[in-house]
């Protein structure tokens, strides 16, 4: 009996203690929970940096807890879409320029223009113009940039040295210089028709060739976005050169080699000399041990050395339940303090003061030597969404359908350009 009694007393005590501590927490502070969606696009390093960033934010804002929602593998934006549609959106989200056209044209993102203008943390003039405007639509802001990438030319210096060639000279090089070097560096030594080394590589996704058209003073869409101008002489000339690298000059891997092996792998294994790629490739390329490589601006053409710049970013869903705290979070993440934490994982910061400081430029002995090229590329660069329309995704389907055959060499480039121009113009005219 006594035993029972003591147990009962003990139990009661525990109960009182729990109740007390519970109510104390309630009294002490009202913990506000907000949610942040992350698409898992940049791998484990990025996630770790994001977690450190969020921890710092929580430290500076007592009483706010951020819960991370991770996208399931391979479905980066589908889950976010479903969450928004079901009325249970995250309060803020990681974003990138791939889903931006469809999200913004459907009105799924919150207009943050007024908040941005009032912000004390973010001054728009401190950012690179392409970055701060990356998430604008009809002159209004729908997101902030975080990590960027500018496309430059990566080159295998060892290959150039062995061939006795002068390495690429950035924008001092013309397209002719580039083509000549590519032809010299493509070698089929055993004569089986498949080169062992390639001068360069190409890609079929249109943002990669869009910049070649820009460089040749052409465009994909007319300034009013009502016509597709792929049938202009400039665009046709650019596409004939770009696709010709594979089909005419044969200095880029064939479609079948590209499909499974890929120019990226070929570059990393020392079999491809010049490769147009973005700064996002840095962490991977820094594992290269067998040869020396560096970067420089891409060769100039009629309009100089314009290349593509792309920015990941942050946004707030239009029906966020906690837009104030959501804004506070992305304001912190997109501001100077937050951005610094991402530099070490290879990201290019959108803030001039961070990008043009040792935080980014001092690589501590790691390649590339000419890391400044990434920053230089930002000044002339444009984002692929420079030519943004509400029908962006449908346009992408058409362009890949029409140009795939040209890339395979089974359809003349001119014909593909004309067909694409006609189809896209018709699409843009529809409602």
């Amino acid at each position: 009996m006594r035993e029972y009694l003591s147990k009962l007393v003990l139990l009661g005590l525990v109960g009182i203690l729990m109740w007390a501590s519970f109510s104390v927490t309630l009294l002490a502070q009202e913990v506000k929970k907000i949610t942040f969606y992350y698409d898992y696009g940049g791998g484990i390093g990025e996630l770790e940096a994001l977690k450190r960033c969020i921890a710092l934010f929580e430290e500076k804002n007592p009483g706010v807890k951020v819960e991370l929602i991770l996208a399931p593998a391979g479905q980066a934006w589908t889950k976010l879409l479903t969450m928004i549609a079901s009325g249970d959106p995250p309060d803020a989200t990681w974003f990138d320029d791939e889903p931006f056209p469809r999200f913004v044209s459907e009105g799924l993102l919150m207009d943050i223009t007024d908040r941005l203008k009032k912000s004390k943390v973010i001054k728009t003039t401190d950012y690179y113009p392409t970055a701060i405007k990356a998430y604008t639509w009809n002159g209004r802001w729908y997101g902030l940039p975080n990590l960027g990438g500018s496309v430059v030319m990566f080159y295998n210096k060892t290959m150039f040295d062995k061939a006795g060639l002068k390495p690429p000279q950035g924008d001092k090089w013309t397209m002719d210089d580039f083509l000549k070097a590519a032809i010299k560096l493509t070698k089929d030594e055993n004569g089986d028709g498949i080169p062992e080394t390639y001068g360069t590589g190409i890609r079929t996704w249109w943002p990669y060739w869009q910049s070649w058209i820009w460089r040749n003073k052409g465009s994909v869409l007319s300034p009013d976005r009502k016509k597709c101008t792929l049938d202009s002489p400039e665009a046709i000339e650019a596409m004939e050169l770009y696709i010709g690298l594979r089909t005419k000059y044969k200095v880029a891997p064939s479609a079948s080699v590209e499909k499974e092996q890929g120019s990226d792998m070929l570059f990393m294994s020392g079999k491809l000399a010049m490769w147009h790629n973005g700064s996002w490739a840095l962490p991977n390329y820094r594992t290269i041990k067998d040869f020396e490589w560096d970067v420089c601006l891409v060769p100039r053409w009629k309009t100089g050395s314009i290349e593509r710049v792309s920015w990941d970013g942050y946004a707030i869903p239009f029906n966020s339940k906690n837009p104030d705290l959501g804004w506070k979070l992305i304001e912190f993440l997109g501001g100077g303090e937050g951005l610094k934490m991402f530099v070490e994982i290879g990201g290019l910061p959108p803030l001039k003061s961070v990008a043009e400081s040792p935080v980014f430029l001092d690589t501590k002995g790691k390649p590339p030597k000419n890391i400044k090229a990434f920053v230089d590329a930002l000044y002339g660069g444009r984002t692929r969404l420079t030519e943004l329309t509400p029908k962006y995704d449908e346009m992408t389907t058409i362009l890949s359908q029409v140009f795939d055959e040209a890339f395979l060499g089974t359809k003349p480039v001119v014909q593909a350009c004309k067909e694409a121009a006609e189809k896209v113009t018709k699409l843009l005219a529809g409602k």
Binding site: T78, I84, A85, E106, G107, L108, S256, Q261, T397, D404
Partner: protein, 295 residues
């Protein structure tokens, strides 16, 4: 009705309530929702904003060239893949219906692709199809043949996918045929043999007719499944090259989740339903001509 029976009924209904609720919320609800959506403009932000009648259906059938392209691709995929996978299933079943050493092992080997996830299958076959290092082209090279680019080749991309489909489906077809074969009474074979039937005649006049119900079942279910293929395409080609391998459901997904035209995609889904429904109806009608249910 006695009170006991009534009580039993109520108890029974209560027992199935959880799964009924699940069915209504996750299956029946969305089906009705998508039907309504297909006749209206539904947006992520505003939800429903008025009915548009049959406009989506009209656009699909008369304006949208991609609709016809993906439909053609799907018919190609089904028309070639289904008959061959059924024939292969029958062949395997006949081969493995005998007492041979290790028959169980063989059956398992042929059945494994059916229970393997389509994502894993897609990834592995992409390796096999690798034009330079893949197993298939390496073997062809040893025989002095230069293999095609498989998945990146305009003409070969769809056949490559169909080959994977056949490989994946024939194990299931085999199991169903094995069950069918074991249902055929051995008396029939004995009687036919006494009458002097050859092996081929045994197959042609005994086995084949008695398997027609099985074949019919497989034909109906395979065609339905094949019209709905998605994962394999998404993993292996994503519609490339030149949208030649984009099948109906892949395109539907792209319209819904990449172009965010949910209403339009719902209309596509209902047209697919009607196509499958009509095809199945037609098969049922035709079945009386060739399916033999005994006696």
């Amino acid at each position: 009705m006695s009170s006991l029976v009534r009580r039993r009924n109520i108890e029974g209904l209560l027992f199935i309530t959880p799964s009924m609720i699940g069915l209504l919320t996750f299956i029946v609800g969305p089906i009705i929702f998508s039907l309504i959506m297909s006749f209206s403009d539904w947006k992520f932000t505003t939800g429903f904003s008025g009915f548009v009648g049959v406009e989506h259906y009209k656009n699909l059938l008369f304006e949208d060239e991609y609709f016809w392209l993906v439909l053609k691709n799907t018919i190609y995929y089904t028309g070639v893949g289904v008959p061959i996978s059924i024939a292969m299933g029958l062949l395997l079943a006949i081969l493995l219906n005998r007492k041979i050493p290790g028959e169980t092992v063989f059956r398992v080997i042929y059945y494994i692709p059916t229970v393997t996830s389509a994502v894993a299958i897609g990834l592995i076959w992409r390796w096999l199809y690798n034009p330079e290092f893949g197993l298939i082209n390496s073997i062809l090279r040893m025989m002095g043949i230069k293999g095609p680019g498989w998945l990146s080749d305009l003409k070969w991309a769809m056949p490559s996918l169909i080959i994977v489909h056949i490989w994946q489906a024939m194990g299931y077809n085999m199991i169903i045929y094995l069950a069918g074969l074991q249902n055929i009474s051995s008396e029939l074979y004995e009687a036919a043999e006494i009458d002097g039937a050859t092996k081929f005649q045994l197959f042609r006049y005994v086995t084949f007719p008695l398997l027609t119900p099985t074949t019919f079942f497989l034909l109906v279910t395979s065609i339905i499944g094949s019209f709905q293929v998605y994962t394999l395409i998404a993993v292996m080609t994503g519609g490339a090259p030149a949208y030649r391998t984009a099948v109906y459901v892949y395109h539907l997904w792209s319209v819904a989740f990449q172009q965010l035209k949910m209403s339009y995609a719902s209309a596509m889904a209902w047209i697919l339903f009607i196509i499958i429904f009509l095809l199945t109806l037609l098969q049922l009608k035709l079945s009386s001509r060739w399916v033999f249910y005994g006696e």
